[in-house]
């Protein structure tokens, strides 16, 4: 088993057997920890809150220079303004259609009845009747919550962002799938786009694209293009090369092979990418509200000003409903694509066609009615459901805060004194060079000089940013949050993966955790855990654990039934089955869950800065709010990206090793 020559994969790493590698890491860890403790307090590179380094001042100056030239530079006046006005036109078109009145008309062209009918029809045609019923019920609930217009504003902005993301993401994704060199080139760009906190580029984007729908759309695009692009690339690469070669040998050109063979076969995975793009776009609604984007996000932000938990929960719930509807619809559409591409023809063409016509006719009538009559245009009723939901949320938070606060305070103290403080003090007080050396060596042991170089570059940039000490504060909190996330991910994920029933019950809750804006649960969390790092960690866990749970569950489920059955017939009990068979076979999924868990946790660093976690997150927020800290905020954003890239590459290398290792056994 330890014979490395069995490995057929091309690995650049030093071919160290696993057990030996483990021993090396243990030695490395002991050396780092003891030197950190012996030399503690030396070369920790602290920097006061209000102090700036020359790099920060330089970055501030850079953005001011752009600011000054905004209106005179031909690049802005011609290129940027053209992009801006065409995006504005596109978004306004959608808004006029479903959400906003115009100068001559007080209501949108298509009222609620029309929108509901269109959603029903589209979902029924591309996904299934069952999901269509869910979608219609979901959209009617938005109206009953008293948030119809806000929801439509959010839908219009999300649709615009998703369409543009796909227009850009899919072609570039195909390119990345075809040309690995191109993919290598843009991967760091995508990393930046996904990990860089939005607060950092909110101000520059509004400077370039001005206040309005264009800026809100661009901010969303930055975050929603990467999933579309990445997943498309994976989709293209998954298509077996032999089928492409076969097609070329039969005389088709490269372009024909792409169009006739690769794209159709990649379709299903590309639809998964569309799904992820929609989710990413929806997760930006509250941030976009900070630059005047209309919709549900604004309700959440305004409710936060008065700490109105009920009202913000009401809007948060609407966002969750919209996300679930869009998620289920696109997932069902993906499943249908798969059935269609795996040859079987639809059950009966004729029937479907006549029902289609009927659906179309009903939809057209509904659109007409909603255009002409007020009752079909503006959602009737005063949103009583919304008022009730808000009242329930208010009293629930009140009750929890009153009765659980001793428990939660205790929990905060246990975690803070027992885990966060020790980890943070080791990381922050250690000399920078010992930690840096340990990280670079980790990279080398895992994947040789290439990974070591990547880690070294990240560390160098961290040092240049002048924020080493704050980075270590953030890293400590990130590690604790990731630890909790991974434990939850494995425990709950195993449970979910073993039972479809549990899955069905928990999935909506997991979805809610992923798309409910953090601003909604910030106030209750602050009430429970105070303005502490632990509050930030809990918020990160809420956001990150659903992804980890889903990934682990998926991994458990994909363990071939023959293996589990063999284990059961060999007399394993449930515990043995889980620990000896299912979890080890789902290794790769667990490693991926750790990787994604860490990245998701890092995405919440800025939210942590809003609730007392300090560190890089606070600096980003402060940079957004104060002119003279702008450069420092930007540097903090870059530092977060560097931590992200480092964590991502290292955990991925671990995952790859496990993968290789698993293959070696076979």
């Amino acid at each position: 088993m330890a014979n490395a020559t069995l490995v057929h994969e091309e690995i650049i790493a030093p071919r160290t057997p696993k057990s030996l590698l483990g021993a090396k890491f243990a030695v490395l860890g002991v050396i780092w920890l003891s030197s950190a403790l012996i030399l503690r307090g030396n070369s920790t590179l602290p920097l006061d809150r209000s102090s700036l380094t020359s790099v920060h001042t330089w970055l501030s100056g850079l953005s001011s220079a752009i600011d000054r030239n905004r209106n005179s530079n031909p690049f802005f006046v011609n290129t940027i303004d053209k992009i801006r006005s065409s995006i504005n036109t596109f978004v306004n078109l959608l808004q006029d259609a479903i959400s906003q009145g115009t100068a001559t008309r007080s209501v949108p062209q298509i009222g609620w009845l029309g929108v509901v009918a269109i959603i029903g029809l589209v979902v029924a045609l591309w996904a299934s009747i069952r999901v269509a019923i869910l979608a219609v019920a979901g959209f009617i609930t938005l109206g009953l919550l008293g948030l119809w217009q806000e929801s439509m504003d959010t839908l219009a902005l999300t649709l615009a962002a998703v369409v543009l993301s796909l227009l850009i993401g899919i072609p570039f994704g195909v390119l990345a799938g075809l040309f690995p060199k191109f993919e290598k080139l843009i991967t760091p760009v995508l990393d930046f786009a996904q990990v860089m906190p939005t607060f950092v580029y909110l101000t520059p984007v509004t400077l370039f694209f001005l206040i309005g729908p264009a800026s809100a759309t661009i901010v969303t695009l930055i975050y929603s293009i990467p999933p579309a692009l990445r997943i498309t690339a994976v989709a293209i690469r998954e298509v077996p090369w032999s089928t492409v070669e076969a097609s070329i040998s039969m005389g088709s050109t490269r372009w024909q092979a792409l169009r006739k063979v690769q794209l159709p076969q990649a379709k299903r995975t590309i639809v998964v990418g569309i799904n992820q793009t929609i989710m990413a776009a929806l997760s930006m609604v509250t941030i976009a509200a900070l630059i005047d984007a209309p919709g549900l996000g604004r309700v959440v932000v305004q409710a936060l000003e008065t700490l109105n938990v009920g009202r913000s929960f009401q809007a948060g719930l609407a966002i969750v409903i919209m996300a679930v509807v869009l998620d289920r619809s696109t997932t069902a559409a993906a499943a249908k694509v798969q059935i269609a591409t795996s040859h079987k023809k639809p059950v009966s063409r004729r029937v479907t066609r006549s029902t289609k016509w009927l659906g179309l006719a009903i939809t057209l009538v509904a659109i007409y009615l909603s255009n002409v009559y007020l009752w079909a245009s503006q959602f009737p009723g005063a949103g009583l459901l919304g008022i009730k939901v808000a009242a329930i949320a208010d009293s629930a938070t009140g009750w929890i805060q009153l009765h659980l606060v001793t428990v939660t305070n205790g929990l905060t103290n246990i975690f803070s004194y027992g885990l966060i403080n020790p980890i943070q003090s080791v990381l922050v007080d250690a000399p920078w060079y010992t930690t840096a050396a340990a990280l670079v060596l980790t990279g080398y042991l895992l994947k040789g000089t290439r990974l070591a170089a990547v880690v070294a570059i990240c560390i160098a940039i961290l040092l240049v940013s002048g924020l080493w000490s704050d980075s270590m504060v953030t890293l400590a909190a990130t590690l604790v949050a990731a630890l909790i996330t991974v434990v939850l991910g494995i425990a709950v994920g195993t449970w979910v993966g073993r039972s479809m029933r549990v899955d069905r019950i928990l999935r909506p809750i997991l979805d809610a955790g992923q798309v409910m804006p953090a601003f909604v649960y910030l106030v209750p969390f602050l009430g429970l855990f105070g303005a502490t790092r632990f509050t930030a960690i809990m918020a990160a866990v809420v956001y990150a654990s659903p992804a980890a749970i889903k990934l682990v569950a998926d991994g458990i489920r994909s363990v071939p039934e023959s293996i589990t059955e063999a284990a059961i017939s060999a007399g394993s009990n449930t515990w043995q089955l889980i620990t000896k068979v299912q979890l080890p076979s789902a290794r790769r999924a667990i490693a991926l869950a750790i990787n994604q868990g860490l990245i998701y946790v890092l995405a919440m660093v800025v939210v942590g800065g809003l609730v007392g976690a300090g560190g890089l997150g606070y600096l980003v927020v402060a940079g957004f709010a104060q002119e003279n800290l702008k450069g420092k905020g930007l540097a903090a954003g870059v530092a977060i990206v560097m931590l992200g890239i480092m964590i991502d590459r290292i955990t991925q290398a671990v995952a790859d090793r496990r993968d290789v290792h698993a293959k070696t056994i076979r």
């Binding site: 305004q302 006549s354 602050l526 632990f534 007392g612 606070y618 104060q626």
Partner: protein, 328 residues
Amino acid sequence: MVSKGAKRRGPLLLLIVVTSLVLAACGGTKVGSSNSAAPTTSTSAKACGTFNLAVNPWVGYEADAAVVAYIAQTKLGCTVVKKNLSEEISWQGFSTGEVDAVLENWGHADLVKKYITDQKVAQDAGPSGNKGVIGWYVPPFLAAAHPDIVDSKNLNKYANLFKTSESGGKGAFLDGDPSYVTNDEALMKNLKLNFKVVYTGSEAALITAFRNGQTQKKPVIGYFYEPQWFLSEVALKHVALPAYTAGCDTDPKKVACDYPPYELNKVVSVKFATSGSPAWNLVKNFSWTNDDQNLVAKYIAQDKMTDDQAAKKWVDANPDKVKAWMAG
């Protein structure tokens, strides 16, 4: 489920559905039949046009904006576009021409320098009448239990009360929204106070801390400011620092005195000020007291009225003030 017959039943069903839907609709009000009554053309001296008003994210400002927007809309016939923006981006809007006015500005010397002095795209439009106070506060129960706590000289005696998991053995002092300039770290050092500044990072976090401190009788001390709607819920007590004298805060590293009193002011874009719009006249004359603002803020934050409802209530009760704002 659907059988072969569906093909023939299709058109029939369609007919039924269409007619029943159309019939059901017959009694409804048509779109546009009522909206012609809404914004009648008030042919006043000068057309107002569009008025772009920044709305910064705190309730006191929302109260200002609610009243000004209501008057501009109903009495001057302006099309008011409220833009929900942070302070930084609002000022940036002066230079890009997207924002006409900011109604409550808290100092921001850096932005004044950039947009008024250097770029010359914005100008001061006079005080808003509101007096801003920044300072240190404790919840009222604590001040009642330890009357001498409201003087910073006595704080070290109580530092132990404020210890938390975040403060590294010292007392925790909470700082809030990073939008405001604070000298608190320097103050701790220069006044030799045994406290560590903990950055809560948002107004929501700060208010929650004070609110829970009061209800759970848990000692809390932190940075806060007036006017603020929360003070009408919990009347925080101001902690005295060595008195402010002009220039005592010039060197941020050596500050050892209280924050200066703030005369909150209005800022407008130069373009707006020279446009001759009646909205500019309104903004220029707008001025009210902290009590006025607190009242409207209370309507919004605690009575949960919409901006327009709150503004209407106040405007109807204060016709004289409104009249003065609209005078030439």
